[in-house]
Symmetry: C2
Subunit: 678 residues, 2 copies
């Protein structure tokens, strides 16, 4: 079967891994990106990029640039992107623009990042019709660049305490926007620092002497001609970060900025010309754009981990180290069990996240369809699911990227591998769009609402398929056996994960109830069982990730894909079982013998996945221009390209650094002179 | 009792944590750094730095500099350092120089880093007397800058396969040095790129047609006057990295470079003028400098984790988020159990690593004393201990730094927190001086040598105190109980850790033996049980870390320190027990009830350590100039300083970026023009 990455002039150590590929890698690519259409779109855009010199020459390797140069490079790349996107991208397939954007601007931010991912969706959901007609075409058209400014320097999670104010003045029919303190400065929003000129600001709405909580306001912060900050606006970049450095995350203070009444987004809440506040019909609708971002994140995190696994896997077949049998030459480092254990589970997790991402996005669209019919019954489920997934997936993905990076040794430490940059990007997902611990506790609120119903033995009303298992009665001992079929093992393991989630949910609920019975107020009790709650949330999320992966493999129709995915799933499940070994051991659910069976299965699964490791990461279909990694090159010609790459460093423009003779050179000469005097 | 960080004009949220400090923080500082003398040295140097403007003004915050500017800043800082060091640092107390260096040049590398840590020690151990007299004074005097070039682009761990050659030419009495391939290029050595001019190169020694393996050679790579690379030398910087970016880690290729015979370090092996190879009397001696670096690393990793914990703990008392009881205001985030669980165990691990570091350094000096008396019996123990410690401590420290960083939310993501930089520095420890997995397997070789002796019930000869427990018979059920004294709990937990290490060692040995009995060659079998071996090594290392910490607390004479350290130790032990819960549960050593006891003790320990968290991190006595963190400032005035810091960004020199009107500005104007035409 063909591996589409097998080409002439490759490093033989990679080619040999690809030659016997037992499945069609591009067919797998279709599974990863959600269908054959996506593969066609990708290939169309790849060809186009290769054929147009000014696109082909855009580079998103910023390793040797200062931050200012990085922002310039990205802005220039963005110009080329915006010029060509209409020529090649189908406007009805937003995926195509995003894919072209990735090829040209990379993943670490570009001027339109937040404009496209937050501003446009928010306008669509939160505007009155009048506002929509006024702003949406301009936004889509690129007449302004916007961002969404919510987080403040001293206020993140707790929106209620945002300090920025928008006070309605009925005399002039304007809102007066203010950042009363340093701690109220907007801080961190992407593209806020230098790129954006009209932005959505979350501020406490004050009218008729009363505060109605945070609402979104459209505020002009820069002059449309000069791009200078408007009077009363302090705005700038917050400085370098662990990643995402081609994004000008910014700060903002507003001092008595007056905006027209109609610059408050009035699709939900409203303020009348007289200053009367009219509450929204459906409060939850305002949050749907955030839900969408979280749905998309799951897939992005899976891709980030996939990229890291791709780099580390290819390199681990090129790198040889240690002679196991004397005279037989050094072996590929991927042939060591310890190295397999480091890298291969990351491949399996990347696949698991990708499948979960598809589910989560589909569910989002299902829920949005419901919402159009005024049915919001599944919104809580979607929110709970995404909270858990966002937290678990971003954490495991970033941990996995780091394992891949460490697995590349010293080369993983340098930006030539691209792994530091990927880590910076992926680990950001633990913090943005809701800090992970907070997200777990949000899911826990959902679980704690279900808990009394579980105790009672039946749900109050409709329960989503995701939570169904919590109400099922299952054996209290694991059914894992040595000579079971794989499918039977998978079911036994899944049952075990569900057992753990059910148990931890009920235990957390019990502890919470006990505290409350002893007179501890609910919210205080909640902080005292935070650890139990987050354990339950993680366990619940695991049941979902594994269930989706199992179903995906079971439903796979192409035999050759099904077979290799079975290996990956088998590894995944036993790896996860090892990961929560203590949880299944502590109540005697799993026996020591069963733990031993799982240990052996894991070792076998590592060997099985090892065989197709390169083919599995090739199926992600990453272009070299996306990865920007000398270690992860498709052709495996690592060492000569590492050498070439380093030559491009600004530091290497000078054989002798310009300041040498004034600094350490002088110290050496002075010391020599003194010595010769002695 | 005084907390020496309590000063006027502090953020009250920090001051209130300090005011009731139940111990003398500087007395704790003495425990952390190894005695009161160290505290005095630190204070002397702190005062000196504050009193000399050119020292005080040196900054090691490189956040806003390009890499070239960073190297320049560090070189200029180094000049100031070298000028003042002789005036204030006692040359007999190398610690004083290192402390001043840290204040002035920071921790991310400076031109003399490898010169001082590797070249000088190697010269001391590996030179003949003649060579010592020739080179050592010059090295100490700063007449050249050197580094140690061992690692090659395609060869790290497996020294035997280094490709660089040094071929003896008896006609000219010279060695001819060559890098025959790209993959043989020296790659990564610190300070190699631009700073160093005379360096120690590891190369395969060839003489009389035979290869005698890697040896060290002194090679001049740059002209002492012009500093230009010598003919036949290709040398440069390998580019930016995830951390340590003020170090010019470099690459090097040598093409037919001829060096005098006496440039081979001849303290151990020798080559006679005729070309005869004379092997060393004690082969192991050549490795002592590497052992020293690993000993020192433990303390450094502990300090790195301490710095991160200091930043995150202080910030977690300044940051308030979420109202637990309505109307009572937002609470300090350190008051949430989930946040405590994130940060406080890192404080306890930092203390544990520091105590282990003292032990490891003392052991190193004890072993060196033995070596002087030709007794090398403890060298294997030292090597095994340091291999395990280096691996476990660097990994747990970097994981801990990352928890601290994530615990600071969005602010932890930016370089203003300094946590990205600290992470880059600490996680480097997982890779340099022996990759962590390899290190664990080296310790495993030691354990596998002991295993048959454990089975036989008695050691072959003298066994160091570190491995004694492996030969002890102990109960097969944990003695942990609810109403025990703390000391009894500690002993019970320690016994449990020893039980696990003994069991995992014997299980790995059993698996290895079984494979070999079935005809699998030893080295192949070894790769197949890699996971079991590394588990055993980690478990063994844990017994050591916990034992040292327990002994340190037991031996503490000052009651007020002993009390707070007991809280820290209690947290540490239960945290570690949770960490290896599966290992103690799976053979029924710990019961479910006992696991529950530990869970409750952990929750209580978190509350106990919470009370003194700020005082415990203050005891590390970090200066603001060392931390370079706006979040971790001693005075807690976080927000105003975050604001000030960002103003300094090169990007914020421009209200409108110079390329704006050519790039995104143009896109906006074009779109507006087109729109107005419609």
């Amino acid at each position: 079967m063909p591996n589409h990455c097998l080409e002439p002039n490759q490093n033989e150590d990679l080619a040999s891994e690809r030659r016997l590929c037992p499945f069609n890698t591009l067919e797998m690519t279709a599974r990863i990106y959600g269908g054959e259409n996506f593969v066609k779109s990708r290939q169309k855009i790849q060809k186009y990029v290769q054929s147009v010199p000014e696109l082909r020459e855009c580079s998103s390797d910023f390793s040797f640039l200062s931050r200012l140069e990085t922002l310039e490079r990205t802005a220039r790349n963005a110009v080329v992107l915006m010029k060509h996107a209409p020529k090649i991208c189908d406007p009805n397939e937003p995926f195509e623009f995003e894919y072209l954007r990735k090829q040209i601007c990379g993943d670490d931010g570009y001027p339109y990042g937040l404009h496209n991912s937050m501003v446009v969706p928010m306008l669509k959901v939160n505007c009155s019709e009048e506002q929509m007609n006024l702003w949406l075409p301009k936004a889509l058209n690129g007449e302004f660049i916007g961002t969404y400014a919510q987080t403040e320097m001293a206020h993140g999670t707790n929106l209620k305490k945002l300090e920025t104010t928008a006070t309605y003045d009925p005399e002039t029919k304007e809102f007066v926007m203010n950042s009363p303190t340093i701690s109220s400065a907007k801080w961190i929003p992407g593209n806020l620092g230098k790129s954006s000129n009209f932005i959505l600001v979350m501020a406490q709405l004050w009218t008729q002497g009363k505060c109605y909580g945070p609402h979104a306001f459209m505020v002009q912060i820069r002059d449309p001609v000069t791009h200078m900050p408007m009077p009363g606006v302090e705005v700038g970049d917050i400085g370098p970060k662990i990643g995402i450095n081609s994004n000008d995350n910014g700060y903002l203070r507003l001092h008595n900025i007056r905006i027209p009444r109609l610059n408050m987004l009035m699709g939900n809440s409203q303020v009348t010309p007289e200053g009367k506040f009219i509450p929204p019909a459906h409060a939850k609708l305002a949050y749907t754009s955030m839900m969408f971002v979280r749905s998309v994140m799951i897939h992005l995190m899976g891709q980030g981990l996939g990229a890291a696994a791709c780099i580390a896997t290819r390199y681990a077949c090129v790198r040889r180290q240690g002679e196991v049998l004397e005279g037989q030459g050094e072996v590929k480092i991927l042939d060591y069990q310890t190295h397999q254990y480091r890298i291969l589970p990351q491949i399996s997790r990347a696949y698991a996240f990708i499948f979960a991402g598809h589910y989560s996005k589909d569910l989002y669209f299902r829920v949005m369809e419901d919402v159009k019919r005024k049915d919001t019954s599944l919104m809580a489920d979607l929110h709970a699911l995404n909270s858990g997934l966002k937290s678990v997936v971003s954490w495991q993905a970033s941990q996995g990227v780091e394992q891949c990076r460490l697995g590349c040794g010293g080369h993983g430490y340098t930006c030539a591998s691209a792994l530091p940059q990927i880590y910076g990007l992926v680990v950001g997902g633990c913090t943005y769009e809701g800090e992970n611990l907070v997200m777990l506790l949000q899911l826990a609120r959902y679980l704690m609402k279900l808990a009394p119903q579980i105790v009672a033995g039946r749900p109050n009303g409709k329960i989503s398929e995701i939570a169904q298992y919590l109400f099922e009665k299952k054996p209290t001992k694991s059914r894992l056996q040595k000579n079971q079929s794989r499918e039977a093992q998978w079911e036994a393991i899944q049952e075990g994960f569900e057992h753990v989630a059910r148990r931890l949910t009920l235990e957390a609920y019990q502890r919470l109830s006990d505290l409350k019975k002893n007179g501890v107020p609910h919210e205080v009790a909640w902080t005292k069982v935070g650890l139990d709650l987050s354990r339950a949330s993680k366990a619940h999320t695991r049941t979902f990730l594994t269930r989706i992966f199992i179903n995906s493999v079971k439903n796979e129709k192409t035999w050759s894909l099904k077979e290799v995915l079975s290996d990956v799933l088998h590894l995944y499940l036993h790896y996860e079982l090892q990961d929560c070994r203590a949880d299944v051991l502590e109540d005697g659910y799993l026996s020591n013998q069963q733990a031993e069976i799982s240990r052996e299965e894991l070792a076998k699964a590592l060997e099985a996945v090892r065989k197709n490791a390169v083919n599995l990461v090739d199926a992600f279909d990453f272009q070299d221009r996306e990865l920007n990694s000398q270690l992860g090159r498709k052709d495996g010609n690592v060492y000569e390209n590492l050498w070439k790459w380093a030559q491009n460093s600004e530091v290497n423009k000078y054989q002798v650094l310009p300041f040498h003779h004034e600094t350490t050179g002088k110290i050496m000469k002075d010391a020599q002179r003194q010595h010769s005097k002695l």
